[in-house]
Amino acid sequence: MEVKNSYIRNMKHEDFKDNEYLDAYVKELRASGLNIAVAKLDDLINWGRSNSVWPLVFGTSCCAIEFMSLAAARYDFSRFGWEVTRNSPRQADLIICCGTIVHKMAPVLKRLYDQLAEPKYVMAFGSCTIGGGPFKKSYHVVMGVNEVIPVDVYVPGCPPRPDAMIYGMMQLARKIKMQDFFKLPKQPHPNLALQNESNTQDNAEKENGLLHEAGNDAVIEQKKGGAQ
C-alpha cells in the first residue's frame, strides 16, 4: 500500500523536470515508517487541497495581464480548480505575486501575507518578483519578493506565458501533496501575534525548520527569508 506520492492527476510524473529529489524524498518518507491510517487520511486531505487552491492575485503590472489571459477562455485555469480568485486574503490559500514589488508596496504585500490563513503559499510570477528582473538597477524596486515574504514556487519569464503559470501551479499542487497536513504550522492567535512582535523572528525560524524537514529544493523552493 503506497502512501505519500507526488502524482497529480493533470500531468504525468515523467513529464515534470527535476523529479529526482521528490522521488528520493518519497522513498525516505516511506522508509522511515508512516502510520498508514494517518498517512492515508493525510493523502485524502491533500488531494482535496491541491485541487482547489484559492489564489489571491496580487497583480501590479504586466504579469497581471498574462494572468488575465490564463483566466480567459483559451487557457482556462478553472480546469484545474484554481479559478476561485479571492480578493480578500482571509479567504485565500495562495498569493500569486504578478508584477514588480516596489518599496512603497512591500509593506502592503507583507500585511496581506500576514492576513492569509495557514497553510499558505506564495508564488512569484515573473522576473521582477524573482530578483528585480529588468529593474535590477532601480532605486525603488525590491529585488525579489523573497526579501519581504517567503516564496514556494518561482515562475520565470518576462512576462511568463500562461502555460508556464500552469506548470508552476502543478508544481505547487505536488508540493501540497507531499506535505504533512497535521504537522503544518498553525496560525498564531492574532492577539498573541500583536503582543509578541519581538518573537516574529523566532517564529520564522521555527517555520523554516519545519519546512526544512519537508526537504524541498530547486523549483519548489524552500521558504526562505521569513518575516522581515
Binding site: S69, A73, K104, P107, V108, Y139
Partner: protein
C-alpha cells in the same frame, strides 16, 4: 506659424528659437507666470493644452520645461523653459491656476527634483513616500540603499493627508502653510492599492457623503520603478525594453515613439517597409488594448461574458504577434532604424483573415452589450466631461475624443505610414461614460480599416536601416509625439552627445486620465466610480514609470 512667432516674441524677457514645428522659448523664472498666463489667455491664440512639465537637472541649475499646445493648431508646440540656480531651495511659480493638469505634473517635478512650486496648494511627493530621502532624478542623488531601506510599515495615512505648501502673498510675505486633505467629519474610504478593479496598483482615498463621492485623492507610486533614472545609465537600444514594460497594453506603440525620437536625432532614414510593418503592429496593439479595456470595463460593471469574449478575440492578435515578433504581450519588435526581424511568411495571410473575423465579432459585442438596457442605464448620463475641461486636464486619447476634442496625433502630426492610409478620427460630443465606451469599439473599426489598407501594400526592401554598433545621439533635444491606445504618448530626449541620454522623459497619457477621474467622480455614486475608472481605461505602471 507667424501667429505663434509673434506671440512668442511678445513674451516678457523671452528668447525665441524655432526648430521645425517647435518654438523654444526661454524666460527668466521671475517672468514665468506672466509668460504662461499670456500664452494661456491670449486673445488671438490660446495655448489651452499643457502637454507636459519636464524637470531637468543641468548640473549647476535646475530647469523646468513646459510643453504647450494650442488646440487650434495642434501640430505646433511651444517649449517654455525656465531655470533656477538655487539648488538648496529651488522655487518656481506655479501654473496650477492656468491649467488643471499642472497639479500632478508639478508634484512629479517636486518629487524627482525637489523644486517647490510657489502657491501650489498641494506640494506632497507624488510617487515616493513622504519620508524618502533625496530627489532621485538629480544628478547628485545618493542611491545608497542604507538611506532608503525597504520599509516595514505602510505609509502613515496622516502624513498623506497633510498638504504642505509655500505661498507668497501680494505683499511678498512668505507663508509655509499646512492644509488638511479631508475635513474632520469626512467619512474616508480606502480603495486599493490591492483591489481587482483599480486596473493596477492605484490607491484612491475617497471621501463619501452617504453613497455620494465628495472628494477623490489618487495616491501613486505603488509601482514606481524609476525607469527614467535607469534610462540615464542605459544606451539607447537598452532603453527599448524598459519602455515596453511601462504601458504594457500599448507597448509597441510607445516603443515605436521612442525609436522615432532617436531616429529623428540620428537623421536616420527608416525603410518604408519598416514604417508599414510598425504601423500595422501598432494598430493591432491598439485593437488588443481596446478589447481588453472594453472587456475590463464590462467586467467592472458585472458582465463577465464580455471580458471572456474580449480576451478571446485578443488571443488572435497575440498569436499573430507570437509568430512574427516572438513575444505575446511584450512584442519587443521595433528597434532603432526599423524592426527586429522581417515579418513571418504567414503574417499577411493571418492579418487578412483577422480583419473580417474582428468585424463580425464587433457586431456581436454591440448586440451583446452596447444595446443592453441595463448597461445603457448605467452608462448614460454619468461622468460628464466637457470639452474645455478635457483640454485643460490634458485628457487625450479616446477620453478626450469622446468629449469632442480632436486630438488624434495620427491626424495632427502623421508619423510612420499613417499618411498612406485613409481613416476617420472618431469624435463624439457628449462626453459621457457611454461615449467613452462606444468610441473604443468605433476605433477598433477604424484600426481595422487602416490595417486593411496597409497589409496588402507592404513595400519590399530592407526591414531595418543599418545603424552603428554604438549609437550616439548628437547634442540637442528631441521630442516625438505618438498616439498610444490610451492617449498621447510623448518622448523627450535630452542628449549631450554621448551614448547615454542625459535625460529622458515620457509623457504618460494615463496620469491625466486619473486626474480626470478626480474631477468627474465628484457627485457620482461610489458604485459608479469603478465604472468611470473602467471607461477612462488607465494603466497604472504607465503613470508611475
Amino acid at each position: 506659424m507667424k501667429v505663434i512667432a509673434d506671440l512668442a516674441a511678445q513674451l516678457p524677457g523671452a528668447t525665441v528659437e524655432q526648430q521645425g514645428n517647435t518654438f523654444l522659448v526661454a524666460v527668466p523664472k521671475e517672468k514665468l507666470h506672466d509668460a504662461a498666463s499670456m500664452l494661456r489667455h491670449n486673445s488671438k491664440l490660446q495655448f489651452d493644452y499643457l502637454n507636459d512639465i519636464i524637470g531637468l537637472d543641468n548640473g549647476d541649475t535646475l530647469g523646468v520645461i513646459y510643453v504647450l499646445v494650442a488646440t487650434q493648431f495642434s501640430a505646433y508646440t511651444i517649449r517654455l523653459k525656465t531655470e533656477t540656480d538655487d539648488r538648496e531651495n529651488p522655487e518656481i511659480d506655479t501654473v496650477v491656476d492656468l491649467w488643471d493638469s499642472a497639479d500632478l505634473y508639478e508634484r512629479e517635478v517636486y518629487d524627482f527634483f525637489g523644486i517647490r512650486f510657489v502657491n501650489n496648494p498641494d506640494m506632497r511627493r507624488l510617487f515616493l513616500r513622504q519620508d524618502w530621502v533625496g530627489y532621485p532624478l538629480r544628478k547628485d542623488y545618493d542611491a545608497d540603499p542604507e538611506l532608503n531601506p525597504i520599509p516595514h510599515e505602510a505609509e502613515d495615512l496622516d502624513k498623506m493627508e497633510d498638504l504642505p505648501s509655500l505661498e507668497i502673498d501680494l505683499n511678498g510675505a512668505r507663508l509655509e502653510k499646512h492644509r488638511q486633505l479631508f475635513e474632520k467629519e469626512d467619512y474616508v474610504v480606502n480603495f486599493g492599492p490591492q483591489h481587482p478593479s483599480t486596473h493596477g496598483a492605484l490607491h484612491l482615498r475617497i471621501a463619501l457623503e452617504g453613497e455620494i463621492v465628495k472628494k477623490v485623492d489618487p495616491n501613486f507610486g505603488y509601482i514606481h520603478r524609476g525607469i527614467e533614472k535607469m534610462c540615464e545609465a542605459d544606451t539607447y537600444p537598452q532603453i527599448l525594453h524598459l519602455i515596453d514594460r511601462m504601458d504594457y497594453l500599448s507597448a509597441t506603440i510607445h516603443r515605436h515613439g521612442f525609436c522615432l525620437a532617436v531616429e529623428k536625432g540620428l537623421q536616420l532614414e527608416t525603410p518604408e517597409r519598416a514604417h508599414y510593418i510598425r504601423t500595422i503592429i501598432d494598430e493591432l496593439t491598439r485593437i488588443a488594448s481596446h478589447l481588453l479595456g472594453w472587456g475590463c470595463m464590462c467586467n467592472d460593471m458585472g458582465a463577465i461574458t464580455a471580458f471572456i469574449y474580449g480576451m478571446r478575440d485578443r488571443e488572435k492578435i497575440m498569436d499573430i504577434f507570437e509568430q512574427t515578433c516572438g513575444g505575446r504581450l511584450m512584442a519587443n519588435y521595433s528597434v532603432i532604424g526599423g524592426v527586429m526581424a522581417d515579418i513571418h511568411p504567414d503574417f499577411q495571410k493571418k492579418v487578412r483573415a483577422f480583419v473580417p473575423y474582428m468585424r463580425k465579432m464587433l457586431k456581436e459585442h454591440h448586440i451583446l452589450f452596447t444595446g443592453n438596457p441595463i448597461a445603457r442605464g448605467r452608462m448614460e448620463g454619468v461622468g460628464y466631461l466637457s470639452k474645455e475641461k478635457a483640454i485643460s486636464l490634458g485628457a487625450t486619447g479616446p477620453t478626450g475624443r469622446a468629449s469632442g476634442w480632436s486630438n488624434d496625433v495620427r491626424k495632427i502630426a502623421p508619423y510612420a505610414a499613417y499618411r498612406h492610409a485613409e481613416f476617420a478620427e472618431m469624435l463624439r460630443t457628449d462626453g459621457l461614460t457611454f461615449d467613452r465606451y462606444v468610441i473604443r469599439l468605433d476605433e477598433i473599426e477604424e484600426s481595422l480599416k487602416i490595417i486593411e489598407q496597409l497589409v496588402d501594400n507592404i513595400p519590399g526592401g530592407a526591414y531595418a536601416a543599418k545603424t552603428k554598433a554604438i549609437i550616439k545621439l548628437p547634442e540637442g533635444e528631441f521630442h516625438q509625439r505618438v498616439e498610444g491606445s490610451h492617449g498621447e504618448f510623448d518622448v523627450y530626449i535630452n542628449s549631450r552627445g554621448e551614448k547615454y541620454p542625459y535625460r529622458v522623459k515620457f509623457r504618460s497619457p494615463c496620469m491625466t486620465l486619473v486626474n480626470t477621474l478626480k474631477h468627474i467622480a465628484v457627485g457620482t455614486k461610489v458604485a459608479d466610480l469603478i465604472m468611470l475608472g473602467g471607461s477612462l481605461d488607465y494603466v497604472i505602471p504607465c503613470i508611475d514609470r
